[in-house]
């Protein structure tokens, strides 16, 4: 089975900010593999191991620096990596991202496309449905347990009403929950081996994506302004140096909660 895994390069939590001049997320600082995507990658590697054959391709759209994230994916065990990177793709919203990433995925002709639960910078938790639509494939989201057999995938997933079990024939698109597995850490051998694995960078041109369908030009949403969030009441912060429990108890007593 050939599995394509979508991985996003996201800024570190501590440095996340929107640049007031561009009104876009500041992507200039340190970044890393979106933690939720390690679950998707882990699931792909397990499916490949279980069937004893196949290929796992990590696919990302983002700045050049996203190659660090792809190297991490290769170190974890992906066989190959594809980066869609192009100045004209910066600032892409869901419409533009799903169009370009969809082209890169279609080119791979995978049996299964796996995505993570959400991108930790945008919290959209939606891209899979747009990708499934671009590829015209069946889709299952929020999957906490996944099995594949006889050309089908079956996923158990939570909604507002409890757990569904949904089945889809391959080729299909599946987005997994952060509890589906415990992602492996890359081994030293994996890290060393990653450098030798094939890593390809594609421009929008390579994918046949017209520049007016990418980046801000191809986006159908826009940011008009930024404001401060409503003020919250007082909030206290303490570091545990051995007596945090006492301080919590004091606080609860002060609030007449104990």
């Amino acid at each position: 089975m050939k599995i394509a895994v979508c991985v996003k390069h996201v800024p570190e939590a501590a440095s996340r900010r929107i640049d007031p001049s561009t009104k876009r997320l500041d992507r200039s600082g340190e970044g890393a593999l979106n933690a939720f995507d390690a679950n998707a990658l882990e699931e792909a590697l397990r499916l490949k191991d279980a069937s004893g054959e196949g290929e796992v391709v990590a696919v990302s759209m983002g700045p050049q620096k996203a190659s660090d994230t792809l190297r991490k994916a290769l170190a974890m065990g992906a066989d190959r990596a594809v980066l869609v990177s192009d100045e004209s793709a910066a600032g892409s919203d869901l419409v533009a991202t799903s169009y370009a990433l969809g082209k890169a995925l279609a080119r791979e002709e995978p049996d299964l496309v796996l995505l993570g639960q959400q991108a930790s910078d945008s919290d959209g938790a939606v891209l899979w449905a747009a990708i499934a639509e671009r590829l015209r494939r069946p889709m299952i989201s929020q999957v906490a347990e996944l099995t594949a057999s006889d050309g089908k995938v079956r996923g158990k997933r939570q909604t507002e009403f409890g757990y569904d079990v949904i089945e889809a024939p391959l080729p299909a698109v599946v987005a997994v929950s952060d509890a589906i597995n415990e992602p492996r850490y890359p081994s030293l051998k994996g890290i060393m081996g990653a450098k030798k694995k094939p890593q390809e960078t594609l421009s929008l041109d390579d994918l046949g994506v017209e520049s007016e369908r990418a980046g801000e030009a191809g986006s159908k949403t826009e940011v008009l302004g930024l404001t401060d969030p409503p003020a919250r009441g007082d909030s206290r912060r303490i570091e545990d140096d051995g007596n945090a429990a006492e301080q919590i108890a004091e606080f609860l007593a002060e609030k007449r909660l104990i």
Partner: protein
């Protein structure tokens, strides 16, 4: 303007979230407001949307729409948008609605703004407000071209009855092959077992930071000492550590106790929407950058295994000395 609101149903009920969005849309006074109900045997439900402000409700009634799966609903709404010249589609956040909205966005190359907490009309165009980056900034967002698609954050508004009547109109159902390829093998139904946490005055909640299902005893003992109930995050429910009935958040319960103690919980938005109206929030987390600290009254950077048992002991001592 003509606004179409996706009316989600479960069993024989239109969902409160959808009706809230419908009332909000109607309150804009920005043109026609319609609803769409898609399912099997759902015609009866449709007229109920009239009193929340829909002048017309389109009904897609077909056995192929029985299961609450998103892709066939994209087909239904895309057809409606084209045939009825709809320029705006609004939805209330849910697992189903998010997937419908994103599929529709790609199908129609139409802009989708998510996490909306407000929307207004400015010079004939819609402008939305949405929090971002763990709610540290509020963003005013717009749409380029039509249709405009928006998803509202869970629990943002309450439904308002204004007492109108809706015309119920059948709409044809034509589905794409790939849209009906996924099938529901077993559909979720509310799981009744487990304690009810909605009425508890004190809730102690545990997340993945507890390290394993066996460590839920830490949380249970603190809850017992405080005379409260135990809750959990989706991550630990999905992993089978704790029952779904105790889950707080977007796909779990919404609670507003006097005290909410979060132990080893990162504080994802989907968790926050279920507990943000608690009067006092105390969080214990070893990561100083955890989003939960952004909305805690008392944030404790520390290890749950150290802090929680000591706190339990102290609470017990105080209760003993008070009695």
């Amino acid at each position: 303007m003509s606004i179409l609101v996706f009316l989600e149903h479960h069993g024989n009920e239109l969902q409160k979230g959808s009706l809230s969005v419908l009332s909000k849309a109607a309150s804009l006074g920005a043109g026609d407001v319609y609803g769409v109900v898609a399912g099997s045997g759902v015609r009866e439900l449709a007229s109920g949307a009239g009193k929340y402000g829909a002048s017309k409700v389109f009904v897609a009634d077909d056995p192929a729409l029985e299961a609450p799966l998103p892709q066939p609903r994209v087909d239904v709404i895309a057809t409606l948008v084209r045939e009825q010249s709809i320029d705006t589609v609004l939805l209330a956040q849910s697992v189903l609605a998010a997937d419908v909205a994103a599929g529709l966005s790609a199908r129609l190359d139409a802009g989708l703004n998510w996490e909306l907490v407000d929307i207004e009309e400015q010079d004939g165009k819609l402008v939305g407000t949405r929090p971002a980056l763990a709610d540290s900034v509020y963003v005013q967002v717009g749409w380029k071209g039509e249709p405009c698609i928006g998803i509202f954050r869970s629990g943002t508004f309450d439904p308002k009855e204004t007492g109108g009547e809706a015309e119920v109109v059948d709409t044809p159902v034509q589905l794409e092959d790939f849209s009906t390829a996924a099938t529901m093998i077993e559909q979720a139904h509310e799981e009744q077992q487990g304690p009810s946490i909605e009425d508890a005055d004190v809730i102690v909640a545990g997340g993945r930071g507890l390290g394993g299902p066996e460590n839920f005893t830490l949380v249970e003992e603190l809850a017992k000492a405080l005379g409260g109930a135990v809750a959990a995050t989706r991550a630990v429910v999905d992993a089978g550590w704790y029952p779904y009935a105790t889950q707080v958040g977007q796909t779990g319960k919404t609670v507003s106790p006097k005290l909410y103690v979060a132990c080893g919980i990162s504080g994802a938005i989907q968790h926050k929407v279920g507990m943000q109206s608690s009067s006092v929030i105390v969080a214990i987390n070893k990561d100083p950058n955890a989003p939960i600290f952004e909305y805690s009254d008392l944030g404790v950077v520390g290890d749950v295994h150290e802090v929680v048992p000591k706190l339990t002991e102290l609470v017990k001592q105080r209760k003993r000395s008070a009695s």
